[in-house]
């Protein structure tokens, strides 16, 4: 099959996942409420001091995205396991890496939608100047989310056939995300503080390098992890 038809297959998988999600909204509602609750609980834990809240906001926001994302990645493959759809999916002709791309697109769209609600909520709860950093902050959110979703989609496929996949996925995923978390938090923190020290650029470059490396590596290794 040609590259164009493999991309069409990836789009078909993303369409299927997003259509099913749009119908039920079960995953979206669960992830969103869970993430909002985490934001709120971190706020209570940090206390009423506005400076403490603002200082911790970038870290709290990204950790909340990570916790919520793990739930959605697990769910993304559960849908395939119900009724034996994963095996049917693997038996379609063509490159199995289209499955990775399709899942990646669907998970990315899903998580960006969650963030669309979550980031303004964090701005309200943690008193953040959301519009001051300008498009740089949105760039960081997209780059951080892309790297996170890439690894999440890959490891969720690896854990999908394991019995304790809900526990296994964060155990596999979180250690790998340390550089991404660090870069995303530091870049967000710098941009929220108007990047007075000019730190944001180097952290953003790290995010780009992380995304490129893991996007390529996950894409080529996917076929081996999805096989039984």
């Amino acid at each position: 099959m040609s590259v164009a038809s493999e991309l069409a297959r990836a789009r078909a998988i993303a369409w299927k996942d997003l259509t099913a999600e749009r119908r039920t909204k079960a995953n979206f509602n669960a992830v969103l409420f869970f993430a909002a609750l985490v934001l709120l609980l971190f706020g209570f834990a940090l206390g009423p001091d506005n400076d403490a809240l603002r200082g911790a906001a970038a870290g709290v926001l990204w950790l909340t995205v990570l916790f919520g994302g793990v739930l959605s990645f697990n769910r993304s493959y559960e849908m395939e396991l119900e009724g034996g759809a994963l095996e049917a999916l693997l038996l379609y002709p063509g490159d199995r890496r289209a499955l990775f791309l399709g899942k990646l697109l669907a998970n990315l769209a899903f998580l960006l939608l969650v963030e669309l609600v979550l980031v303004p909520l964090a701005a309200v709860l943690y008193d953040l100047p959301l519009f001051r950093p300008g498009p740089g902050l949105f760039g960081v959110i997209i780059l951080g989310t892309l790297g996170f979703v890439t690894l999440g989609t890959f490891y969720a496929a690896m854990a999908s056939r394991a019995r304790a996949r809900e526990v296994l996925l964060p155990l596999l995923l979180f250690p790998m995300l340390v550089p991404l978390l660090l870069a995303a938090v530091e870049a967000t923190k710098a941009l929220l503080a108007r990047d007075l020290m000019g730190d944001a650029g180097s952290w953003i470059r790290l995010l780009v390098v992380f995304d490129v490396i893991f996007l390529v590596a996950s894409f080529f290794a996917f076929e081996y992890v999805i096989e039984e």
């Binding site: 038809s5 297959r9 299927k16 009724g83 034996g84 095996e87 379609y92 063509g94």
Partner: protein, 250 residues
């Protein structure tokens, strides 16, 4: 990688296929050759390895040892090509509950690199008796309707090698007839079929040959403990199966 036109090659040619799960060998050197136009009924007790064998032929599972070809294409090295030729109706329907029947078929066509053709989808749904249920979500379907939809997915893209795993489960009499009609359609077009079943009576009208798996190995004929049941079936078809079973073990 061997290239093949597939014209003169056997539909399936398995040589010494063995598969281990953990320490347990489920298959211990299975060899089977299925010619184009032929339908083979595969029998065996629960856990004998019938499903494992079909999954290996479909490339869903790799054999621990042995080699196999589908229309000349190696299962290990040309998996993508094999998947273009094989169609599977398995235990599970492999459908998406929150999509409608039509949407499931559209998705299947897109995954095969084809444009979703509404008319072809409606024809396929009509052929399996789901013409009126196509726009309903699969979640509302009965077990039999799900199996029919899975059959419609095959009807849309008839395979050259049809692998059926307990295809008669959950089907009513009309559904069973539709399955067998489809098997005949595939073999008449030069394809072949392997039917894994406990329900030999249902498969007999289309099966050219019966083989069974015992202790991980393949034998010609039906298992001896099924002879009585075959004789009870009555008619010419049943007699033919008894003679085939008398062929004994290889």
């Amino acid at each position: 990688m061997q290239t093949s036109t597939g014209a003169a090659d056997p539909a399936a040619d398995l040589q010494g296929i063995a598969r281990r799960f953990g320490r347990r060998w489920v298959l211990r050197g299975v060899s089977l050759r299925v010619e184009p136009g032929e339908t083979v009924a595969l029998m065996g007790r629960n856990g004998s390895g019938k499903t494992t064998l079909l999954r290996i032929v479909s490339t869903a599972l790799s054999p621990t040892r042995g080699a196999g070809r589908v229309f000349g294409h190696d299962l290990r090295r040309a998996g993508a090509r094999v998947r273009e030729l094989v169609g599977v109706l398995g235990h599970a329907a492999g459908l998406y509950e929150d999509l409608t029947g039509v949407e499931n078929l559209k998705f299947a066509l897109r995954m095969c690199g084809r444009r979703p053709d509404r008319a072809a989808i409606e024809d396929a749904l009509a052929e399996v008796g789901l013409a009126d249920a196509g726009d309903e979500r699969v979640r509302t379907y009965s077990a039999g309707m799900r199996r029919r939809l899975a059959l419609a997915r095959l009807v849309l893209r008839p395979p050259r090698l049809l692998l059926l795993d307990e295809p008669y489960a959950a089907f009513d009499v009309d559904g069973i007839r539709k399955v067998n009609d489809f098997v005949r359609q595939v073999t008449a077009a030069g394809g072949a079929a392997i039917i894994s079943t406990h329900d030999l009576e249902r498969a007999l009208p289309v099966a050219d040959r019966v083989v069974h798996i015992l202790d991980g190995q393949l034998y010609e004929g039906a298992p001896a403990d099924l002879d009585l049941r075959i004789e009870r079936a009555g008619g010419d078809v049943a007699e033919e199966a008894v003679h085939s079973a008398a062929g004994g073990a290889r």
